[in-house]
Assembly symmetry: C2
Homo-oligomer: 408 residues x 2
Amino acid sequence: MINLSKKGKLLIAQGGGPTAVINQSLIGAVLEARKFPQVTKIYGALHGVTGILNEDFIDLTQETTQNLESVASTPSSGLFSTRDKPDGQYCIDMFNIMKAHDIRYFFYIGGNDSADTVRIVNEKAAEENYELRSIHIPKTIDNDLRVNDHCPGYGSAARFVTQAFMGINLDLNSLPGVYIGIVMGRHSGFLTAAASMAKKYPDDGPHLIYLPERPFTIDKFLSDVKETYEKYGKCIIAVSEGICDEGGETITAKLCECVERDSHGNVQLSGSGSLGDMLSKEIKEKLGIKRVRSDTFGYLQRSFMGCVSDTDQREAREVGEKAAQFALWQNVDGSVTIHRTGTYSVDYRLSKLGDVAKYTKSMPDNFINDTCNGVTSDFREYCLPLIGSNMPEAFRLRAPKVEKILYK
Amino acid sequence: MINLSKKGKLLIAQGGGPTAVINQSLIGAVLEARKFPQVTKIYGALHGVTGILNEDFIDLTQETTQNLESVASTPSSGLFSTRDKPDGQYCIDMFNIMKAHDIRYFFYIGGNDSADTVRIVNEKAAEENYELRSIHIPKTIDNDLRVNDHCPGYGSAARFVTQAFMGINLDLNSLPGVYIGIVMGRHSGFLTAAASMAKKYPDDGPHLIYLPERPFTIDKFLSDVKETYEKYGKCIIAVSEGICDEGGETITAKLCECVERDSHGNVQLSGSGSLGDMLSKEIKEKLGIKRVRSDTFGYLQRSFMGCVSDTDQREAREVGEKAAQFALWQNVDGSVTIHRTGTYSVDYRLSKLGDVAKYTKSMPDNFINDTCNGVTSDFREYCLPLIGSNMPEAFRLRAPKVEKILYK
């Protein structure tokens, strides 16, 4: 806390893949910042850093509170997004645009790349003695930001994955077979692991969960599936899209090579269904099981309308508000981080941008079982509050069997 | 109305693919039938007709009302299902089992195949002068049962598809490109058409909808996509899994043949992601658009937990209750059918089994646009009440642009 923060405009933007609650953070920051007289106007940059570079701003101080609240509960990025990852020069160009508009507060909602962008812009401002408060606001369905206990966006995506596997359990009870659900998460398995929250009855799936944190071999996979199928007469599997072999090469990449070798001409198979289709084919051919189905959850899991965790919603709102409070009451830079206290509450802190930026976090060892094909109760305890309250529940008939007359 | 119906047991079973509300019909029938003293017991057959053949029954009169209600709101078939389509002999064997247990009422919840099973069992009973009341209770997410205005199960699946495309609209606004969602419905396009309910803003998708009712050609498809992409800078497409060429061959089958010709040995590509992947590849290669994504909604759309239409839930319950009332008050056989009256209410009738059985219904011409790549307002008016109330809504920021300083 040095001195009262400088009078000027606030610029906010959103980067990376959308989440169900990223607009809660946006609106939390905007409404909180409006309470401070130092903030002369609040601009939103369209399409993240691209919009900053193109000077493509909208004036959020001319939005109604009603509409801001309506957008808050709308999934995906209200200010639109970008996949641009700025290098040094890009950040310098952005900084010059900000200076021209007398931007004194810069908030960027995103993952580890966004945190790194904020870090570089911040360094540039310090070099030039330009008074700028830069705050990174966390979001990612992958849940892979360091320092944070968990990330806004994860809980709602995890809830989608849970509800999906709950339904799959019911579907496979009804018509048994093998089911493979491919879940997002290139480098960390948190989202795939959330499938485990769908279990209620002892024979419920997912029976097997494969994460990018552990090497995947097709032989071990097939023997796991065989064992489960023999035990339960069904097998439900959650697979991360990012599973890798011992050497760290993704199974999807290996598969594509294989298909290229087998086909004529320039045909290249790299569509989103390929991993699930390949694993299904292996099971059908090697284990002789007929009913094998796979779904790739794809974009549904990150933007499905009407599936949101209330915990996630609340916390996404709060990290936005805290960004404004850190910048304006305390006049400091950093990344807003979430820290779990007790079961279950959270505190928010401002962490160093460098501690959150660039690198990602993987599932800790105590969340993954010893046989590398499932999660532990530690993980389930961790995940339970994040997927929120009022989870729908599955029930089964418990009526007694009728004694046979003809076939007894 | 001949005479008071005969004293005896009631047997109920569920067939075909699960829906979100099929257990409402089960529980509606069970609870209503319990009010009639002629019904001595209510048995449930496990796994549809297979369970009847195997004499695999549970005694539903020993269930608590609490648990029956809990199961009612659980998706998928509480009595489990089957894909068996009984022929004449199978039906005769089933009938003999029923006779042994003094079954005097037989209710089968399912699609057109299930209606046909009920029809054959019913004929057999009449031949033998065995007093049996057989009722078919409708369900199918495909919405393709004749006589019915619409089918229980459709509304909830249509709601899932709507909510999915609402999210996709938001996702593609944020990160533009081309998106293809593959929706279930082998012979009729009702479920795919429901994607149109996701439109709110003028540039919202789906911009293109391809149904099995109209021939699909890849050239027309590519020219449609190109035109849309040039107009909006994005293109969102709903495609039925059952799309066919001019000759009636499914595009998926054509695709599989093609891959078989290209590959060595017995490799066969028939995984669920293949149609979407193939269409994506065509767009990337022929139109040079980089960001093309496809999702195959697969099993999520029919069993996702927590996505249900209240209209659908209510009606599914009522067709079950009406089955009991027709069989027990009126002592007649048939298929319970739904008929729309006004905007919006329904009446239930008992139709002839032969009118509902075997054949399926397609989308009527006035629901499909002239360019064969979308639906009409007639369809949207038809579909609106079916997807239920309290639909989540998407909102956009409407803040004015900020005048440029550097790049003006």
